[in-house]
Symmetry: C2
Subunit: 590 residues, 2 copies
């Protein structure tokens, strides 16, 4: 066992010097400023006290710096995982109760254990169950749900519901109670953030600020909104006028917490924890790979699972919530020049200082400000043109995407992702269950064979050559049986069928049995089955099987060999026995 593989910190720490230290420190400062409002906001989105978000951005970051393989990934609470946390934990206990907090810790622990086990068992491939259209649809739907769920804070009304339809209905019912100062703050921050996102960088550039600082300042716009609205609320006493504020947040470092071990609770949260783990991993690993590639670095997906898993375990023991690698903050970290995971550890220090010293200052922070921050952040996740793009490219992928979006919005996050995964699996099976195959004939005068329906080729009424363009496995084994037996039933004069296998990369046990059945059935019908162009590794496995022992025909190296042997044979002998049986068969099949 190579310790460097399981402790990637050993790869970079020994060579760590002054230059990367400076760059990492600078990146950490910028990410800290960005992460403070985000942490508070995503904790609120998950229905947890604001300090939970800060706690989840301290120890987990240090742990990821030890075990993670991405140099620049920034770990912490993210929008989609926070929404999933709220949906899962909300079914266990009401928001604000100690059970709700406890369940969030258990969720983080379970998700951490699952990710770590998957990493150690090298099960990263399980994330492949989530196809791109399903993820994209899920994130779009989540973004819309999150944005809708924050509208109530911008309006200053009460509303609830874990899926879009319920939420909007609830909101519509309480529009009469809108709080004017809250709405002013909420819309003000929304407008400011949207304008900042679009025009701040170009304006600063025009004012002579260099490109990178201009972009960094734009990313720091939320902290400005936080500072201004907090001051305004405090100065004008808006909290007395119905503006909801964060209120008193305990100052101090993360507490030591012990997640509960109630087996009933664990069972109830199992599916949610699995889905959160996989969604979080997929999001994180995509970001990590994109950033690593820009510097020709590599991340190891299975070690990433361990990195994220241990971070979540750490979160569960330090009063946190489920975390993963976030897109926006990782890009900021990368752009700010972070060179090693030490930047993450320094960010943790920064957030730790904030938790110690700054919490009294945010008592007057309006919740509407955080809500507006969340809305602007998640609307960038919503990718409606992707639906059209996917539809144009592939109807079946678009169907999976649409189903994911509609079910997520209408029935909740867990159902949405489950239906999406189920449907994309079913559609994949459907697609490969009807593999492309073609009856081929000889291009006259050559050794080449082409589809008889597309080319002028030589054929032989006693011989049919079927080329199969797909690996043979359980999903298409039966289709192969159908195709071959239809060929035999359609062509009464047939004496030989050759399967040309140049594109067959695998024959699993189901396909093997189907081939055995085909062989036996063709034998009953007096048709001989031959194989041609079987690939080396496939042939190696076939050698000791009943198929090879009982094959009525031969295994030819090339299709042309098969053609020469079977076409000539008939010319020479006229196959008397086969002709007799063919006439019997013709009689029996009217």
């Amino acid at each position: 066992m190579n310790p460097k593989r399981y402790l990637p910190i050993l790869q970079w720490l020994p060579g760590y010097g002054r230059e990367p230290l400076t760059r990492d420190l600078l990146a950490a400062v910028i990410v800290t400023i960005m992460l403070i409002p985000q942490s508070l906001a995503y904790a609120m989105l998950a229905g947890l006290p604001p300090e939970t978000g800060l706690y989840a951005s301290i120890v987990p970051l240090v742990v990821y710096a030890l075990f993670g393989t991405s140099r620049t990934l920034a770990v912490g609470p993210v929008a989609v995982v926070s929404l999933m946390t709220a949906a899962a934990v909300g079914q266990i206990a009401p928001q604000g109760s100690p059970e709700y907090l406890g369940a969030a810790l258990v969720l983080a622990l379970m998700s951490g254990l699952m990710l770590t086990v998957m990493g150690v068992a090298r099960l990263g491939f399980l994330a492949n169950f989530l196809s791109h259209p399903v993820i994209s649809g899920f994130i779009t739907a989540s973004g819309l749900i999150i944005a809708a769920s924050q509208l109530k804070h911008v309006l200053g009304v009460e509303a609830s519901g874990h899926h879009l339809v319920a939420l909007l209905a609830s909101l519509a019912g309480s529009l009469a109670e809108v709080n004017a100062p809250t709405l002013a703050i909420g819309l003000g921050v929304l407008a400011f953030l949207l304008i900042a996102r679009r025009w701040l960088t170009p304006t600063l550039r025009r004012l002579g600020v260099p490109a990178r600082p201009a972009e960094m300042l734009t990313k720091a716009a939320p902290i400005l909104a936080v500072a201004v609205t907090t001051l305004a609320t405090w100065g004008m006493g808006l909290d007395a006028n119905g503006v909801a504020v964060v209120g008193s947040v305990p100052a101090g470092l993360p507490p030591l917490t012990l997640p509960g071990f109630d087996s009933g609770l664990w069972r109830q949260l199992f599916v949610a924890a699995l889905l959160i783990s996989i969604v979080g991993f997929v999001e994180s690993v995509s970001v990590g790979q994109t950033l690593a590639a820009k510097r020709r670095q590599r991340i190891d997906p299975n070690q990433e699972l361990i990195g994220l898993g241990t971070s979540n375990i750490a979160a569960s023991f330090t009063g946190g919530m489920p975390v993963t690698g976030g897109f926006a903050r990782s890009v900021v970290n990368f752009d700010a020049g972070a060179e090693t995971p030490a930047a993450g550890a320094f960010t943790a220090l920064g957030i730790g200082l904030a938790a110690l010293l700054l919490t009294p200052l945010i008592a007057y922070l309006p919740i509407a400000t955080l809500a507006a921050t969340i809305i602007v952040a998640v609307l960038s996740l919503v990718d409606l043109p992707a639906i059209k793009r996917t539809w144009d490219y592939s109807r079946s992928d678009a169907a999976a995407m649409l189903a994911t979006i509609l079910v997520t919005m209408g029935h909740g996050v867990e159902s949405g992702i489950t239906v999406g995964v189920g449907l994309s699996l079913a559609l994949h099976l459907y697609r490969t269950s009807r593999p492309h195959s073609a009856v081929v004939g000889r291009v006259p005068g050559t050794e080449h064979f082409r589809n008889v329906q597309r080319h002028e080729v030589e054929t032989d009424e006693h011989l049919s050559i079927l080329r199969v363009d797909e690996g043979l496995y359980f999903a298409n084994a039966r289709y192969l049986e159908d195709t071959v037996m239809e060929l035999a039933a359609r062509q009464p004069g047939l004496a030989h069928i050759v399967l040309a296998c140049q594109a067959v990369n695998v024959i699993d046990a189901s396909a093997l049995e189907s081939l055995e059945a085909i062989n036996a059935r063709l034998k009953d019908a007096d048709v001989t089955l031959h194989l041609a162009e079987v690939k080396g590794p496939v042939m190696d496995r076939l050698h000791n099987t009943a198929l090879c022992r009982e094959l009525t025909g031969q295994v030819f190296l090339s299709t042309f060999d098969a053609w020469r042997a079977l076409h000539d044979e008939r010319d020479a002998t006229q196959l008397p026995s086969a002709s007799t049986s063919r006439s019997t068969a013709r009689q029996a099949a009217p």
Copy 2:
């Protein structure tokens, strides 16, 4: 719409004459004799009154004759489906209660509707979810459970449990109460049937009986056992000595029944009905295809779904139970010379006569006799050598098979089949998630390219050609990203990567996005991405995508074209810009 497709009876009835009539009648007589004890026995196995089995062998057979496409399939209660019925209905109500009977009717109706809908919607491909090893394992485990469940009747004791472990434990606890006359009958019938199966045909042949009648007589052995033990029980008054008998069975034609429409019950039975439908369909269609092929006939799997579906609907309205095409009885039907589905209709007549006239005679039929009949029938389903055979051929298929067997035996039929299907899907995804790919080089002096690890080929440190031997879809999209980016990270001098796509039959939306990500990441790393040998249909879909618009390199017709263009280009210009960026990249990636 072609009525002949949906009413296959129109294909054969117009030409029906005296000769097929004679053959069909003879086959029907033989199948009727075989089916009477089987129907009683499988009804008992399903926990239903014996007459239910007879009812399920009357109207459903006539309906199948109208809608089914197999000429010789014999429909009725079968062992595995009866076991699944008992497991499903047993969770709703205790055996013997009216709710139990009602739930069995609902199960037949739901299964019938599901099959019919799947047939009309041409969803027969869904049966492909069941791989051969999973079916084989499931049937083996079911056979063992059924045999074990019948042991109590042979011993004359009480025992219960829907899976093997519980059953055997329960049996062991009641061994003290064995009833001697019951045991004598049970063991006697068991021995007689086993001996008959092995030696009756050869003995009869030696006595001068021709082959076919000898085989038919052997198949009729169970009815002989029924007759003899019934007479013995009646004559010796064994029922007074503790021998359980069938008891009074109402004489008469099937009653009209109306399955209940309680939505809660339907929801509870949904999964069971789906599994019963799929297992029954798979069993039936395999038998049908095997027999059809012997006469070069065809069956249409989607129309078969309609045939089986309508049969089950008929069963639910005529006091029956879930039915499907049985293996043993279909073979007997075929061997006895049945030529058209009319044989099935005549069999229904025969069973109808039996239900009207023979029921008083079976009051003294010992249950031990039926149990012994079942045990002998299902033990032929148990195929333990298949485990070894599958293991030798493919470890992953064997794993799915073993999991199915163990979970079915230890936890019940529904869990067993669900775990088997889930595991074979996961293993398939795992297998295709790591497609075979190879970096290839040029065979010197030719236009051919071969794996660099297996052949002496020309390579170029600035150019890497990767051949991918599998369609690209969501399960392997991420692996492709990993493989390509690892190639780029490993070879610092690299300027071009060519993907040779001659074996890529499909690129789904996930793989398309992965290729776009690969292209963008390689661009960041100053590596150009090219494609070669993209198949026509795949290229057609790629034309209007972002990949084609943003591809940093070109699409070459052949790998050799790519080699010539990229290999020569470097020789001519030394690519100054690429070399510069390469040295930067080397610096960044320590």
